[in-house]
């Protein structure tokens, strides 16, 4: 007669040092092995869609900043492209180049935090602080151009709020030369550290077809081996003028699609973003960034769905406009919201300590999950 054991419910509550904000995980444990994970979200639901319906088009931009507060430049980018497509206006070349540079800088800053917190969850406190020290340099670049460190409201519909600072180009080049060696230092300190590899290789393996079925996108999908990057798929803005590869998980230390692959894909992506910035920084044409900003934005009646490659995945804006000043409905397809769904699938059969490692590798931001 088998020994009757019953599972223990462990509640990793909304206040937990490593759950990237306010996410409650209800773990059903059999001893230390996980039987089932039920994430409870909604602790940071700030009613973005209700606000978007009550505000005019340019006023919604500060609220898009606050959704994915680690990559707010890219949130503006997605919203602004959607409204411009609806209005059918074409922004000047200079604005396109500056938007790409700012977007890629924001991708590096967001990946730095993602990698830092992933290392922090596994116990390595020092790399987290080195990465935050490098991130401060990017934040000072942003602060010099638009005045804010974290939530910028920089990209307006049809242009930008400020032109770039005169010595922005010089400082960005300095940053690129400063940043390359720190990536190799990080690799020595954390990426190829045996204990880190032990903790992340073969953990939370995401097979490719479940990933597609669950709609996972971004570094988590590329970690499973599919080179799917919206910058190459939909080639929005002027990404087709720059050549950069899409890093894909090859399973160097474990199987393809484990936590280590998702982590390593983010490091390679930072390298690619540096290449894009290098190519774009020298060809910025001159012109006025506020030329195409319409005085009153009243788009025609209709719907639009555009998607951009947010550092966490495919960020989509579905806007329905009924012809007056306020949008009728703005639905945001948040990448973290969708990537978190697959989390329950990944954790089955692992230990409690792995839950944190897997959560760190799929890199979610709760502001975006709960909107």
């Amino acid at each position: 007669m088998a020994l009757k054991t019953e599972t223990m419910i462990l509640n990793m509550g909304p206040q937990h040092p490593s759950t990237h904000g306010v996410l409650r995980l209800e773990l059903e444990l059999d001893g230390e092995l996980i039987v089932n994970v039920k994430p409870h979200i909604g602790y940071l639901h700030r009613c973005f869609e209700k606000h978007a319906e009550a505000m005019s088009y340019p006023q919604v931009i500060p609220y898009t900043d606050r959704m994915d507060y680690l990559a707010s430049m890219y949130n503006n980018f997605g919203y602004v492209i959607a409204v411009e497509k609806l209005l059918g206006i074409q922004v000047p070349e200079r604005v396109e180049y500056i938007r790409v540079i700012m977007g890629e800088l924001q991708r590096i800053a967001s990946h730095l935090v993602a990698i830092g917190t992933n290392g922090l969850d596994i116990g390595a406190f020092t790399p987290f602080l080195y990465l935050f020290r490098d991130r401060e340099k990017i934040l000072s670049l942003f602060e010099m151009t638009c005045g804010a460190r974290l939530l910028y409201n920089y990209m307006w519909v049809g242009g930008l709020s400020h032109d770039i600072h005169p010595d922005f180009v010089r400082l960005t080049k300095e940053f690129i030369n400063y940043f390359r060696p720190t990536i190799t230092e990080l690799n020595n300190l954390l990426t190829f550290n045996k204990i880190f590899i032990e903790r992340t290789a073969n953990i939370g393996v995401l097979p490719l077809d479940t990933a597609i079925n669950y709609g996972v996108t971004g570094p988590s999908l590329r970690g499973s081996g599919l080179a799917f990057d919206i910058r190459k798929e939909d080639t929005y803005s002027i990404y087709d003028r720059f050549d950069f590869e899409i890093p894909v998980g090859q399973g160097l230390v474990g199987t393809v699609g484990d936590s280590w692959d998702r982590y390593y894909v983010r490091i390679l992506e930072m390298e690619q973003s540096l290449r894009i910035i290098e190519q774009a920084i020298d060809q910025i044409p001159d012109g006025d960034v506020k030329a195409a900003i319409p005085k009153r934005i009243k788009p025609p009646k209709g719907t639009v769905y555009t998607r951009v490659e947010n550092p966490r995945g495919e960020l989509g804006y579905f806007i329905i406009s009924d012809g007056n000043l306020n949008p009728f409905r703005v639905k945001v397809r948040a990448p973290s919201f969708v990537n978190l769904e697959v989390f329950g699938e990944l954790c089955k059969g692992h230990l409690v300590a792995d839950v944190i490692a897997i959560l760190g590798s799929i890199d979610i931001v709760l502001g975006e999950v709960d909107r």
């Binding site: 223990m8 462990l10 937990h16 040092p17 490593s18 230390e32 290392g119 922090l120 969850d121 596994i122 116990g123 390595a124 406190f125 020092t126 602080l129 080195y130 020290r133 300190l189 954390l190 550290n193 204990i195 880190f196 032990e198 903790r199 230990l351 409690v352 300590a353 792995d354 839950v355 944190i356």
Partner: protein, 355 residues
Amino acid sequence: MYQFLFNLSGSEIIATIFTAAVILVFILLFVLFAVWFERKVSAHMQDRLGPMRVGWHGVLQTIADFVKMLQKEDIIATEADRKLYTIAPVLVFTGSFAAYAAIPFSSKLLGSEVEVGIFYLLAVSSFVVAGILMAGWSSNNKYSLLGAMRSAAQIVSYEIPTALVVLSIVMLTGTLSLEKISQLQTAYFWNWNIFGGPEFSLAKFLLIPFMFVGFLIIYISTLAEVNRTPFDIPEAESELVAGYFTEYCGMKWAMFMLSEYANMFAVSAIVTILFFGGYQSPFGYLGNSIGAEWLVPFEQAFWFIAKGIFFVFVQMWLRWTLPRLRVDQLMTVCWKYLIPYAFLNLIIVGFISLL
């Protein structure tokens, strides 16, 4: 020390109390220094400055923490098992404090010349396990229960590699008492056990690599015994919030911290005695050369504390570099890697000592 006081006061009780008091004061002072030292070391390793505003370079920081913790309200959870809850920190501290009885700080300052020094040390460290289990169970909180289970398993299983390496040293030196082991490794660092022991013979050179392997094994396993990274699963912040002392606050938690740092020094003291010549100074004694005999014990104490603090620094250095191991990996490291290597080392050292 005890002998000197015994002749002075004539009664054992006063002598023992006084020696214990001297060592307790040393531990308290060391812990005050170690907490500040850890925060400054970790800060400078991360390119920041650490406590600065509380005295010159934050020197009074630990005192401020201590006095603040005096003022904290002492919450005991209602369902917590009140008696066990209060005894646990005391037991954990006695476990680490008792270890100091047998540690020779210098030829004069010695708790008690007990013949079976090393054996006593290994035995006493199991007090800590009992205290941790009590703390985990009595605070009636899932996290502390999990944390206590893990740390008990960890400490008990890491005692085996420690014991094996200690055996290899005991085989070499032939005695169990820490006092004699330190005396054997007389002055000048090449006579230390890490470099093959005092006699000048072929065995000495053969021993060096295996002594170094032994040192590595005992250092890693004592790290695990003290719950320091990469083995600090019991207080793994990211998973188990704060392991077995989740429910403790104010002075009870301070007692846990006190015993953790005291344990750190005790463990690095054992490593210095076994391998790095205990209180022997690496370059001969100033006291002897200038003829001031009474200076030698103080020099010995200085060298002993310096080596101890160096190894405590290495523990901190490891803490701020490495990520944390998972529980089952920790067990594989102990059972599949450390213990086989320790056995192999023991056998080879045995053969060499026969030469």
